[in-house]
Symmetry: C2
Subunit: 224 residues, 2 copies
């Protein structure tokens, strides 16, 4: 009796980089960056242990691609706005993007191979400032000061784990119970009389610091 040959399993639809990046980002958005493994992503998409390696040389290559994809979501300076408005909009846009992809921030620290979207972004920001009459020196100052603040704020927001203001309040209360108020009286005061007051939202701090820097840059720029 002839053995019925096993029907060959339907070969999966071939992948492409863009689709894989989308899936990897979705996985990181949902489960955090620690839930993204080469094996898990591949299996989730119906591939084998090693299938991803046909499209990315290694995990770093995948992470580089994810970061560049995140950069492509940032609003670029547009010709019709003044530099200050453009830089302000960019800052707000980066915060929105970082909120959508919180895992991206921690990765930027270690990425050293910028992709095309990243380079396009940097080029547009520099161009915006140069066109407004910023010297090379002042452009470098502005870029450094703004990006330090923008990404630093995102870092603060993450380490403070401030989701909704309600969560913040819960966290601050738990926090107060945890440490001896007597030993840290100024921290306790700020927590009780400011952070725990109704309407408090750490996110509101963003524009204060941002405008401090933008106004400072404007003064320097006017004195050029």
């Amino acid at each position: 009796m002839a053995i019925q040959p096993e029907p060959r399993p339907e070969p999966r639809r071939p992948w492409n980089r863009a689709q894989l990046l989308r899936a990897a980002i979705a996985l990181a958005d949902t489960g955090g960056i620690e839930s993204l493994s080469m094996r898990k992503l591949s299996h989730e998409l119906g591939g084998g242990t090693m299938s991803l390696y046909n499209h990315f040389s290694n995990k770093d290559d995948l992470l580089d691609g994810m970061i560049d994809s995140v950069f492509s979501e940032i609003e670029l300076p547009a010709g019709e706005h003044a530099w200050k408005d453009n830089m302000r909009r960019r800052a707000l846009s980066i915060r929105a993007v970082m909120t959508r992809h919180p895992w991206a921030l921690g990765l930027m620290e270690s990425r050293r191979t910028p992709g095309p979207a990243t380079l396009r972004h940097h080029d547009a920001v520099i161009g915006c400032l140069r066109d407004a009459g910023f010297s090379l020196q002042l452009t470098a100052h502005a870029f450094s000061a703004l990006d330090s603040y923008i990404y630093g704020f995102a870092l603060q927001e993450q380490s403070l784990a401030f989701g909704t203001p309600e969560e913040t309040s819960e966290l601050a209360k738990a926090f107060l119970l945890q440490f001896p108020t007597k030993e840290y009286p100024r921290l306790a005061e700020l927590t009780i009389d400011h952070v725990l007051q109704p309407g408090y939202d750490y996110g509101d701090e963003y524009e204060f610091g941002l405008d401090l820097i933008l106004d400072g840059l404007e003064s320097t720029w006017l004195r050029r």
Copy 2:
């Protein structure tokens, strides 16, 4: 013939938390945070696979301790200085500490259990500003703006991988060859005519942005 009993192996000297934290920090300083594993640290100190778990409940507990230890290295505000001077010194001190322990920055993002040194630090900063007459509101503004900038700059410095200025120059040159200059003309200009000029050092940008914020805070404070 009686079997010679195996001489019992010399029991290792018992550990304590402080010593383990020092060793863990030294390991991370030398080989990066990815070289720090519970097993490796334990083996290096003559312990078994699980020995560390007698002193830390898990790896997060160890990381929390390391971060708090790093915080203890930061120069605290001192009574004899004005608030602006104190905040400036603190900012410079944090950069120095982050240069010594580059792995700490990436960890701060995920730490949510501040230790005593961290709380003492926060309490001292808040106290310094309050004593100078900052309202609770302005204290929160100042703390947020300064820390965002300080940690953000450290992040920039790391992602730009600027070691010595010489390395920077090498990196920038390799960088220019890598991407099509024609496609990113403003970025190319800034790189060639500014970054690659003799004497350029990205670290010099730190004080520009810092003073922008400190001066802005001072204006707001004077108007109080």
